[in-house]
């Protein structure tokens, strides 16, 4: 079924390269040298097995006939939503209801929900004859279902990915930019409410941008009043929160407030990466890693191990591979002509890119710790599987481009 002229071998190769780099990184991350003796946990070996399974899934998706694949999306999405409801009734693990435990295999329905939501939203906002407002409306409400369920697990970090994917898909669906601006303006207003000066600057900027978009005065007035109102009402909400709720939010924004919890990890990750300097300390020789200052260094904090052992050169190389991968992905999106597929591919791109950025940003102290793994690199079977299948979907679209329906 692979069309040799159209199939994007480069994109596939870049993805495989990332997976291989991941296995290598997991090997060193799960090894410890103490007093000249080395012990390695079997995570890298498991990850290789996961990789083989993921590649098999990629091949499976590629060989699935397109009509079957398209027919399959909606029922799968509905099943997935039911699974998200059911998972809320499982016993809590670490205080959250996220996993189904099937004889030692942990299934996380929120992982597959990401891909399926993107595909379903893409289908509905790309229908012929929808105006901009209906597009926004459909996209927003379809996304809201999985997001609300995942929030209840609770898993706040994951829901950010859905929003990022939705905004990107709306842009890809050629929604006018001012509408995207209107859509995200309340969120910015909430953030801007920290200081009256910020509120002022943000609202002036908003009005300026809206005027540039040649909107009617009525729309501009209503939009700015709503945004000012949101900014002003926030402090009232804030005071209404309990002390511990306020603390939780403040710690999310500034982890150093909680030096024994989230802050500790970020500071240790920064020390590990920073001490890698230009060339790094060498394969298996990361001192911070070996002394276990950092927990979870084979999953969320794997980038800190790369940074420590391979230095600036190594981590830049990883960034370069990611950059090439996403560049190629964006190039591919430009090639897609069927609107639904273009929108879906954009959502997938955004979802992968956002994960990568948040994870690396978290490791170097740029964004708050949210527990999002690094795609293709971090240890974890279900995440790797869904990420690979997502890329497979794009590959499949690219492989069949040109057959207009």
């Amino acid at each position: 079924m692979i069309n040799r002229k159209k199939f994007d071998f480069l994109l596939l190769a870049l993805m495989l390269l990332l997976i291989i780099l991941g296995c290598v990184a997991i090997y060193t991350a799960s090894s410890t040298l103490i007093g000249g003796q080395m012990s390695t946990q079997n995570y890298w070996w498991k990850q290789i097995i996961f990789s083989v399974l993921a590649i098999a899934a990629v091949v499976g998706v590629l060989y699935l006939p397109m009509p079957v694949f398209e027919l399959f999306i909606l029922p799968a999405f509905i099943l997935n939503i039911l699974a998200l409801v059911a998972v809320l009734f499982t016993p809590a693990v670490n205080g959250a209801h996220r996993w189904f435990n099937l004889g030692g295999i942990h299934l996380q329905p929120s992982e597959s929900a990401k891909l399926l939501s993107i595909l379903v939203v893409a289908r509905y906002i790309s229908k012929e004859g929808l105006n901009e407002y209906k597009q926004m409306f459909y996209g927003f409400f379809i996304m809201l279902v999985p997001i609300a369920l995942i929030m209840m697990e609770p898993d706040f970090g994951s829901t950010l990915l859905f929003w990022a994917a939705l905004i990107t898909m709306l842009v890809a669906a050629d929604l006018p930019l001012f509408l995207v601006l209107l859509l995200i303006s309340p969120v910015i207003s909430v953030v801007a409410s920290v200081h009256w000066l910020v509120i002022l600057v943000w609202n002036l900027l908003l009005i300026y941008l809206l005027i540039r978009s040649r909107l009617s005065w009525v729309t501009i007035t209503v939009a700015s009043i709503v945004n000012v109102f949101i900014s002003l009402i926030m402090p009232v909400f804030w005071v209404g929160l309990k002390d511990y709720q306020q603390n939780r939010i403040l710690t999310f924004i500034d982890p150093t407030r909680d030096p024994l919890g989230a802050g500790y990890q970020i500071i240790q990750a920064k020390i590990a990466i920073g001490s890698g300097y230009l060339n790094g300390k060498g394969w298996l020789l990361g001192t911070q890693k070996n002394m276990n200052f950092l927990p979870e260094h084979h999953t969320d904090f794997i980038f800190s191990v790369i940074g420590e052992e391979f230095g600036f050169l190594g981590s830049s190389l990883i960034l370069l591979v990611f950059a090439l991968f996403f560049g190629r992905l964006i190039f591919g999106i430009g090639q897609l002509k069927v609107r639904e597929r273009k929108v879906a591919a954009s959502g997938i791109m955004a979802y992968l890119m956002f994960q990568s950025f948040i994870n690396i940003g978290m490791n170097i102290g740029l964004v708050p710790a949210t527990g999002i793994p690094l795609p293709f690199i971090s240890y974890g079977g279900s995440n790797l599987l869904i990420n690979s299948v997502s890329v497979a979907v794009v590959l499949k679209y690219l492989n069949e481009r040109g057959f207009m329906k």
Partner: protein
């Protein structure tokens, strides 16, 4: 209109530049700074272990105390020469290379804390070895605390290092691999109260003694010490009971307060010293703990025995309640036993008792009366009645793994002996507490206490209240269950008369059991058993002054007759109690250290909402630790 892919490219490029720029700043511009930090990076979180609650008797006299101990810790990251270290530990601490490997290598993902290698070391050894530690920077002695159990007993239990399976089970509850956890007894049952909540602190150790300004603000979470338990045990009475129990005999002795259900003395013999478990146990001690006499076995609740004649009041109660007999009914004449079907069931007294009423049958412990009575009773009824009397069902005492005891029903016989089993012969034996009947001494004690208490059965318990960081009453910790025995007042009076006659009327089986100042009630038992030829000796009884006072249960494994062996021990206990009643009953004043804690807490309670919020945020950070860094 700008093309979407153009926007994506710009955004991607911006994000890439942002990450590259930050990495450049972190690794190249500030790289040398972080290298320095990394070299001296002993910024780590240290657990501040909460002080475990102590255990006191009802007059606030200690039973279990914390005492300082010397512990040896290992910091695995500092190990230079593993073979030398292994050699050193083997020689001086009997830690084998395999154990070391297990501790260091297998647990590396579980912790980046110091690992506790050996605890409660001898101070002389610590002094002698301190200078060697210069060669092993990875080893360090620290002062910790250990438990001192003031006397051998079976109810306190003991604590121990958390083991692999317990750690897997409880790690979400903030245990570390160095934690202690209650293994048995009260230490285990009230683990949650005793333990408290460990604190955390950031320790910055820098080789040059510089302070690393990495953390701003508060970097200390104070530990919350565990609650201390105040038991209903009376140390003096406990001590007397332990000495009153004849040496060399296995068995149990329970004294409980009839009105409250609180246990005043709890003795199981032979006993062992829980403090032994606070050190590495030598093979000789281990052997003695596992001797044939089973000193570790708690015979009060962890074993059940045929009760024999002390079970007869139950049978009598059912007969009276079912109106098969009344106070004056005379049953078949005892001619040293009676014939049931074609089998002759012997009474313990071969000379026979003649025709007896229920009170006389209890007084002389005539088996024949109960054989005959059993013929009038249905087994299902009997089974249910025993369960309603809270026998052969757990009493719910606040100790782990209580034995349930046993009383069969028809279904059980059919299952065990086949469909055509003859129930009657079995029933005859059950009626005198033999056959398959099994009760634990604590069950018998609770039953007799209920007889003393006007038929109100109270769940036996040890904990009265907690003191220390929090003051909780017994009912706040766990409500004491109260149940009515299935006996009307009239019928209860008949049984009480029988028990009175046992100790006070001519011909009673326990005439020796009398004390000045109080009326004694009781029942002897000599239970045949499969453990040996000699019978188990039982005595269950209670004393009454203006009100019912204490219930005493004495049980002796294969010691002989209940009247000859067990009753005299009970009499000593009654004597001691009546001789010291003022002392035992006088309410103890709360010692100063607990009073202040109590006042503090009242201040806290006034601000309940703030306290709640604080707790909630505590739990939250706890969760986070568990998810991401297992300390």
């Amino acid at each position: 209109m700008i093309k979407a892919t153009r926007i994506f490219s710009i955004v991607a490029a911006l994000l890439l530049l942002l990450l590259l720029g930050s990495l450049f700043r972190l690794q190249v511009l500030r790289g040398q700074h972080y290298q320095r930090v990394a070299q001296s990076n002993f910024v780590r979180i240290r657990r501040i272990v909460a002080t475990r609650g102590e255990i006191y008797d009802h007059k606030y006299r200690p039973i279990v105390q914390n005492v300082p101990s010397h512990n040896l810790f290992l910091i695995s990251g500092k190990i230079r020469n593993l073979p030398a270290l292994s050699n050193f530990l083997q020689r001086h601490f009997q830690i084998s290379p395999e154990e070391l490997e297990e501790l260091v290598m297998k647990q590396r993902f579980k912790t980046y804390e110091e690992i506790l290698l050996a605890d409660n070391l001898d101070y002389k050894q610590v002094l002698a070895l301190s200078e060697y530690l210069n060669y092993f920077p990875e080893l360090v002695f620290r002062i910790g605390s250990t438990r001192d159990y003031l006397y051998p007993n079976h109810f306190t239990g003991y604590v121990g290092r958390i083991n692999e399976s317990e750690y897997e089970l409880y790690k979400l509850e903030d245990y570390s691999i160095n934690s202690y956890i209650g293994k048995t007894g009260l230490e285990r049952y009230y683990e949650v109260l005793l333990r408290g909540k460990d604190g955390r602190e950031i320790v910055q150790v820098d080789a040059q003694g510089r302070s690393l300004e990495l953390f701003k603000g508060e970097s200390l979470v104070k530990p919350q010490n565990g609650l201390s338990l105040v038991l209903s045990i009376d140390n003096d009475l406990q001590d007397f009971a332990m000495r009153a129990f004849p040496a060399g005999i296995k068995g149990a002795l329970v004294v409980s307060d009839v009105k409250t259900g609180g246990i005043l003395a709890y003795v199981s013999k032979p006993d062992y010293d829980p403090s032994l478990f606070m050190q590495r146990i030598s093979p000789e001690i281990w052997e003695s703990l596992n001797a044939a006499s089973k000193p570790m076995l708690d015979r009060v609740i962890h074993a059940s025995y045929p009760p024999g004649s002390v079970f007869k009041p139950v049978t009598a109660g059912l007969g009276l309640e079912g109106k098969q007999i009344d106070r004056y009914t005379l049953l078949s004449s005892c001619v040293g036993g009676m014939k049931v079907g074609n089998r002759f069931f012997k009474c313990w007294d071969h000379s026979g008792h003649g025709r007896t009423s229920v009170v006389d049958a209890l007084k002389m412990s005539c088996d024949t009366f109960f054989y005959d009575l059993s013929l009038k009773l249905g087994l299902e009824n009997f089974h249910n009645y025993v369960l309603e009397s809270q026998l052969a069902s757990p009493t719910g005492i606040d100790l782990p793994n209580e034995r349930i005891g046993f009383f069969p029903d028809t279904a059980w016989y059919r299952k065990t002996f086949g469909k055509n089993v003859g129930i009657i012969g079995h029933k005859v034996n059950l009626a005198i507490g033999q056959g398959e009947t099994l009760c634990s001494p604590i069950q018998m004690n609770a039953y007799f206490a209920a007889l003393a208490n006007g038929g109100l059965w109270i769940q036996p318990h040890l904990l009265m209240q907690t003191v220390g960081r929090g003051k909780l009453t017994r009912d706040e910790v766990q409500k004491v269950q109260k149940k009515r025995l299935p006996l009307t007042d009239t019928n209860l009076k008949i049984i009480q008369d029988g028990l009175w006659a046992v100790c006070n009327a001519p011909g009673g089986t326990a005439r020796s059991v009398q004390v000045p100042g109080a009326t004694t009630y009781g029942k002897t038992g000599s239970a045949e058993n499969s453990m040996g030829k000699t019978t188990h000796a039982w005595f269950c009884g209670y004393i009454v002054t203006q009100k019912p006072e204490i219930a005493v249960t004495v049980f002796m494994e294969n010691a002989g007759g209940g009247g000859a062996m067990a009753a005299p021990v009970a009499r000593q206990i009654f004597d001691y109690y009546m001789g010291n009643i003022e002392d035992i009953r006088r309410p103890a004043s709360i010692p100063a250290q607990f009073r202040t804690a109590e006042d503090d807490l009242e201040g806290l309670n006034g601000d309940a909402e703030g306290g709640d919020a604080h707790d909630a945020s505590d739990t939250d950070t706890g969760d986070r630790h568990d998810q991401s860094q297992e300390i």
